[in-house]
Symmetry: D2
Subunit: 370 residues, 4 copies
Amino acid sequence: MHAGVHRLSAAGPSDTAVLDEAIAHGLIRPETIVAVLGKTEGNGGVNDFTRGFATASFRTCLVRHLGIPAAVVEARVPLVMSGGTEGGLSPHWLVFTVDRTPGTTPRDDRKSLALGIAFTRLFTPEDIGRRIQAVETARAVKAAMADAAIADASDVHFVQVKCPLLTASRTAEATARGGRVVTPDTYESMGFSRGASALGVAMALGEVADEAVQDERICHDFDLFSSRASTSAGIELMRNEILVLGNSAAWYSHFAIGHAVMGDALDAAAVDRALTMADTALGDAVGTTQTDRLVALFCKAEASRTGTIRGHRHIMLDDSDIKATRHARALVGGVLAGRIGDTRLFVSGGAEHQGPEGGGPLAVIISLRS
Amino acid sequence: MHAGVHRLSAAGPSDTAVLDEAIAHGLIRPETIVAVLGKTEGNGGVNDFTRGFATASFRTCLVRHLGIPAAVVEARVPLVMSGGTEGGLSPHWLVFTVDRTPGTTPRDDRKSLALGIAFTRLFTPEDIGRRIQAVETARAVKAAMADAAIADASDVHFVQVKCPLLTASRTAEATARGGRVVTPDTYESMGFSRGASALGVAMALGEVADEAVQDERICHDFDLFSSRASTSAGIELMRNEILVLGNSAAWYSHFAIGHAVMGDALDAAAVDRALTMADTALGDAVGTTQTDRLVALFCKAEASRTGTIRGHRHIMLDDSDIKATRHARALVGGVLAGRIGDTRLFVSGGAEHQGPEGGGPLAVIISLRS
Amino acid sequence: MHAGVHRLSAAGPSDTAVLDEAIAHGLIRPETIVAVLGKTEGNGGVNDFTRGFATASFRTCLVRHLGIPAAVVEARVPLVMSGGTEGGLSPHWLVFTVDRTPGTTPRDDRKSLALGIAFTRLFTPEDIGRRIQAVETARAVKAAMADAAIADASDVHFVQVKCPLLTASRTAEATARGGRVVTPDTYESMGFSRGASALGVAMALGEVADEAVQDERICHDFDLFSSRASTSAGIELMRNEILVLGNSAAWYSHFAIGHAVMGDALDAAAVDRALTMADTALGDAVGTTQTDRLVALFCKAEASRTGTIRGHRHIMLDDSDIKATRHARALVGGVLAGRIGDTRLFVSGGAEHQGPEGGGPLAVIISLRS
Amino acid sequence: MHAGVHRLSAAGPSDTAVLDEAIAHGLIRPETIVAVLGKTEGNGGVNDFTRGFATASFRTCLVRHLGIPAAVVEARVPLVMSGGTEGGLSPHWLVFTVDRTPGTTPRDDRKSLALGIAFTRLFTPEDIGRRIQAVETARAVKAAMADAAIADASDVHFVQVKCPLLTASRTAEATARGGRVVTPDTYESMGFSRGASALGVAMALGEVADEAVQDERICHDFDLFSSRASTSAGIELMRNEILVLGNSAAWYSHFAIGHAVMGDALDAAAVDRALTMADTALGDAVGTTQTDRLVALFCKAEASRTGTIRGHRHIMLDDSDIKATRHARALVGGVLAGRIGDTRLFVSGGAEHQGPEGGGPLAVIISLRS
């Protein structure tokens, strides 16, 4: 199996023409596409419809290229859109491919990029932000690891999860049948959904004990976290969609992945640690400054709940005009773009139970030296 | 003469208690205060009242400490507030002092931090954003250089200007008497005022020829720019207030200043170039990585008008929810904070005619090795 | 010919399920659909993708129901989406149908709702906001009047126009070939496009003389206006799409339309005047308070450029957090919803050359007394 | 005793010049000023510094006119600023005066405008949003009724309360000593503080039983509410400040007050009911349409938690760009301004436990027919 990743710049949330072009030029064979991640230019909040617009646009695009019904595309290919390109972040798509053509066997026993996909069942509004969402997510992460032929959790470097949120009408639906949702606040529900999903990843990777994940600790006890989960909430789905990324000797590809944890929002050096880890996986010696071989960067950003960064006050949590998640993406996007000189970064907001307080997981995919 | 600079964290736009405390502890003698610069946490736009609130609060505070009328404080001490602490930027005050006590003569002929202050006359709404504003500003910059005992323009490293903007009522006042303002759009007027003021600095420093500064080129021909101007518009004044910062052998202080131009929003290395320049002024050999001796950093941020950063699209100019100036401050704040590990940065938005397209001037003040 | 209008509540910008349902229940025959207008819940600004998402969703929906290619739907059925449901405004669709089945001849010589559609050619970025856009729009309005079998301009009561805007990339495209756009500011370009389009309507209806519409008067001389134009700018098209609504004896329907001009943002009584006019068209005597027969209401809202409403200051033009168009829609939506008790109002922002300064055109469609 | 109310337009949050002018013209005697209410043009959220700026400005202004220290002004004169003038709302001040000059005795036994003032103790961060805040508020309301010489709660028509909110630093202070705040979310804390304060008013007026007000019902059981409370949270204080407005035969003034409850956001007719009640108090027969005698209007606005208004969806609760309180003020401001033709309305957002779900209390002060 050969895993590939293609980074395409997006002119807008419905810009699938860049994929059409990549296919037309033979750079991507449509039948190998297994997942599309996107940074879209909405507010990243409840009413960010750029995510749904991008999802619908890619579904239509894939229907056209694959000649299969929309429902089949929906069931098979996760389209994980993360809203918010504040500051200098550049909207882009990451198209993941898997080529299972016989003959592309591993050259040697070196590990390289591996990926796997899985989905949970549909959730009810009442499930969101609770232990049950974490448990179902953990199960799906393990299924995705199996799909990726990764047996050892230490070979998993990033788990991207797309999860649902509560809207006024979903809450009303639950209330009507006597159900209780975790919060009546739609924006707040995004945090609970991201948090429960991240704890599900942590359970699957052995970072947190199963019994530690209880309703009352979700979005309260932030000592529990995953160093490899990245979860993103959106209005356009009611299940969790999981993409596991790691390195495996069962795969042969030109790519490898590494991760690190940003200790706080200013920890630009995490990029170097992650690059070194990816290098090591490849048995290569790239050196941490060679950011030109970086083909994708993922990380989570959040406003420190202490109200400070390295002892100095930030205003993100007190701002009633711009949401803290928007400030945080802009900040971390700037920190990392200043380090690597590129704004096509998959920086996602809302890092509940994803990395330590005020910091977050970061992962890089690098290409082999040619 | 001895120039000093004190960086104080602000708990809010009216937090003058930190100055009270510094005075109480003998760190600052109130009669030596010559200017206060502040980053306040408003939107940086037309209706950013945090600037005016901070100005009023410091005026009241200085009246209390100096025992002089508010009008005298207003006439003598520029209070230059720049709104907008997006991303991780930390609200703070920079209190500049000058000690003219006999005895504090220069140790040697080494240059050190020098500063001077001047004001233009009050402008009419019709003046704003036009050549006349630039001409008056240039005259005031020269007065401020004389005040700083700096004869050579190459010893000027930063010129901070606070300038007015147009409001609906100021425009109505002009229109009522048959006058024409440069734009009916209040937010847009901030850019014109900043641009004309920056060109005034460029004229004074010999960066742009006098005759090149014509109404039709202001905010149109961005090849004209100053590499040392930083201009900031606010609703709370109708004149320009100028603070010139440079190095001079006529002064003795523990500080020196250097500058550099950020070539674009990601140019974090400009910090190193500016540090080196400041080192050189001191005859020191600090090395560019010793950011711990940095006591103040100033820079301008703007969204590149090309719509791209290093070839990749940004969304700052197409966003109708968050102004481009807010995005740009968050981005550049992240780039620089990631480089130096500190969020107390005087990053000001709107860099019309201040540095090249998409970039901006940057200056650092460092303290002597103790 | 029989014209119909159906108002459907929208659960979101991609909610075409309500149309599916109306078709399933036999309330609407898909082949009779000639236009869909929608109020969607975006910011109404440059980066309001809810308009494009709604347009794409309806196109897909109509392709499914009609069994014709997307390009044919696009060429034939205007999908006019207006972003912004601030305050209490309720997102909704207005589906217009025309039934040309023989047999549905007029009962008598009474006038009833008539409608016609036309499109301009594709515009270049340089055309937008200039006289050429007005001229092309005027031509298309006349074509739409012919399509509606309305000969007399006084029988036209509302002309809805969807028009393009400039983005950073469209401006760059024009600049690259040496062209000049009307403004480099994307948000501002929306106003120019709306203004030029409105003047095109005014030319077609004889409200403004042809030669009066010159580049330099567009968005400057607001004494020129149409009392029946409503223009809305969006990123998702490059031509103008026109829907003419009026009354005609050539049509037989259960509906009639009337209009009035809101003299300012508080002029709730305009609803009564428009209802009376519609009544008169029907030869009916409904009485102005019977708002229960109102099936659609359209109007334009804008922030008075004087900075006041009936002598008291408003803050819409000085607000750098929320655009004036958003404030204005919320205000006028409240004024009208308070009058008629219903929030499903097609209130559109940005009334350049549409009605007098601070006011705007308003139209109502009422159903016959059953 | 003679109570007066003066409505002054504000050019900005620090515009006390209008009061200076009213004093200079003899319209207001400064020593009679007992309270100032203001609508200021901030976002009405956590970081709305227009409230604090207005408060500081009026304090300085009163110090100047009264020749007493700032601390005395602060202890004696409530300065109740409510942020948010969305839509068409016009920033203005309401200056309340009490003249206790002997001789101004009641003409007859007719009731007229009466007012009283009281303060709670300073709260701790932990008190906010809990029963203890309600209990202390109830006690202060009764003190203010005594101050107003109102014995019967049915003579109280409006109780304006200014209450504190939690910031990141206040929460940190509480947490540091082992305390628990009601919510870590600063914006959300505003709702809890308003809600607990409103229930305190309801307790004092006998609208809700003392034992019904428990921590777990605050901001959860909205069947508990006051029909006369209006509470507004701000960062600039840590106690509750109370202004009771009613009618009393012990007072002689040219004014009377009445109230009504808006059943929902579109209930414009509530103005008529409140006017009628005020008329009745005066023994007058003004007729409900004579809005020209209206000198002040107060009301609370909120987004219905059902997500609908009269059955149709609103988007206020799902909007991550503009807070629901901002939408709600714009909407209700439009509804009422469209009814009375004036935008100088004290519409305050966040109606937790103030009026029924989706509606809110409304009060009018009218002047006697001259």
